[in-house]
């Protein structure tokens, strides 16, 4: 084999660096094809083997996000973890927060966002109504029993949103070929309900 010159290797390395940087730029700002896993979005996304197509160009930093969208954000309580959840509330909305074993942390210290307390005695649950602050969203997993979401860490800043899930492809570990892409998105229609429909009319019905 012929020996290659120094210029040959430097030129190839430069081309490689530029190509990798271009792909990285595309993945950061335009679109990404990512693998998802976990139980928290179970009816919508499989536990293993689902690959999602993320739209970052239009929906990065929570731009143009609606209730019902499935989004990927970086997890507030971990550094390098990303989570896939469904948007359940936008800035200004008032959401009901089920009591988790631990109270929501960011929301806990914000009484101006705390609209009301409600004790549902029949179900034995205690929750609270929280007004979502400006620039934040309320995210929930579709599988509420196995999901760590805004009920745990409160409203999530929109700036953490990485992108919106548009399509999912299932390619299981034992599948020869990937499935046909299926659309993921707003399955919840906007309603005309107001907070008055949710707030308890009487202090308690004990």
């Amino acid at each position: 084999m012929a020996t290659r010159g120094f210029r040959y290797y430097t030129s190839n390395a430069s081309k490689f660096i530029r190509a990798v940087a271009a792909v990285h730029l595309l993945h950061t700002y335009v679109l990404e094809f990512a693998i998802t896993g976990g139980l928290s979005m179970l009816p919508t996304l499989h536990t293993v083997g689902d690959h999602v197509f993320l739209d970052k160009y239009n929906h990065r930093l929570g731009r143009d996000i609606k209730v019902g969208d499935v989004i990927v954000t970086s997890k507030p309580t971990e550094e390098h973890t990303r989570i896939c959840k469904r948007v359940a509330g936008l800035p200004g909305d008032i959401v009901y927060c089920d009591a988790m074993p631990k109270a929501p942390m960011r929301a806990a210290g914000m009484p101006d966002d705390l609209v009301g307390l409600s004790t549902d005695v029949t179900n034995g649950r205690t929750g609270k109504y929280i007004k979502i602050p400006e620039g934040h969203i309320w995210i929930l997993g579709d599988n509420g029993m196995a999901s760590l979401d805004s009920r745990e860490y409160g409203p999530v800043p929109k700036a953490l949103v990485v992108g919106k899930v548009l399509w999912a492809v299932y390619w299981g570990p034992f599948d020869w070929l990937p499935s046909w892409p299926r659309q993921i998105g707003s399955n919840i229609e906007a309603t005309d309900l107001s907070i008055a429909d949710f707030l308890p009319t009487t202090p308690s019905r004990r």
């Binding site: 530029r18 990285h24 507030p76 550094e79 960011r106 210290g109 400006e134 620039g135 800043p157």
Partner: protein, 196 residues
């Protein structure tokens, strides 16, 4: 004679074509380096112009808003929580406005109990896992006392060095700022046993 003139014409033609090809090639090669520069700007180091007076007097000591400090924003290791030290000045995305960024100083880390200032509704707060308590050096700063602890994911860079007013060239001090009313009361790791 005719052969000379034809050769001359041919040479001129080739020369313009070569010039065009050279220009096009240079432009294309230059464009191909744009992603690399963008990567460096996003993940390694970049220059930042500080706007506003929330970090006065550490940054932008002139309060007239005309002189703006130019700083070196160090972005390598910016998402590594344990690499931050108390008092470091960081750039983070505004939690209330995702398009904007703010510059603040780190006051407290996860699991620490902080004594808060005025707009915050409670007297003390425990910083959640992988969150910072940040404050500006100026009294009129909108900081964690307004929007609560901020997650590490919002942090973009650390403000390493003041570059432009050459008289104040040097690293940004980790001490300084407001009166130390906002202090760390204590540690309470027991509340978040899975945080580390």
């Amino acid at each position: 004679m005719s052969s000379i003139s034809s050769r001359f014409a041919c040479r001129r033609l080739r020369s313009t074509r070569a010039t065009f090809r050279y220009t096009a090639k240079t432009v294309l090669i230059g464009l191909s380096w744009v992603p690399v520069v963008a990567y460096v700007a996003n993940h390694v180091v970049w220059i930042g112009v500080i706007d506003g007076s929330s970090m006065t007097p550490t940054l932008n000591p002139e309060t007239n808003g005309l002189a703006k400090d130019v700083t070196l924003l160090w972005k390598l290791n910016a998402k590594n929580y344990s690499s931050y030290k108390r008092g470091e000045v960081i750039v983070l995305r505004n939690p209330r406005d995702p398009e904007g960024t703010v510059v603040k100083r780190i006051i407290a880390f996860e699991g620490e109990e902080v004594r808060t200032r005025f707009p915050y509704p409670e007297s003390t707060v425990i910083v959640p896992p992988r969150h910072f308590w940040v404050e500006g050096d100026n009294i009129h700063s909108i900081d964690s006392n307004t929007y609560g602890p901020i997650p590490i994911g919002l942090v973009t860079a650390r403000v390493q060095t003041i570059v432009f007013p050459l008289g104040r060239w040097g690293s940004v001090p980790t001490a300084g700022g407001r009166d130390p009313r906002s202090v760390v009361v204590g540690l309470s790791y027991s509340r978040y046993p899975n945080s580390t």
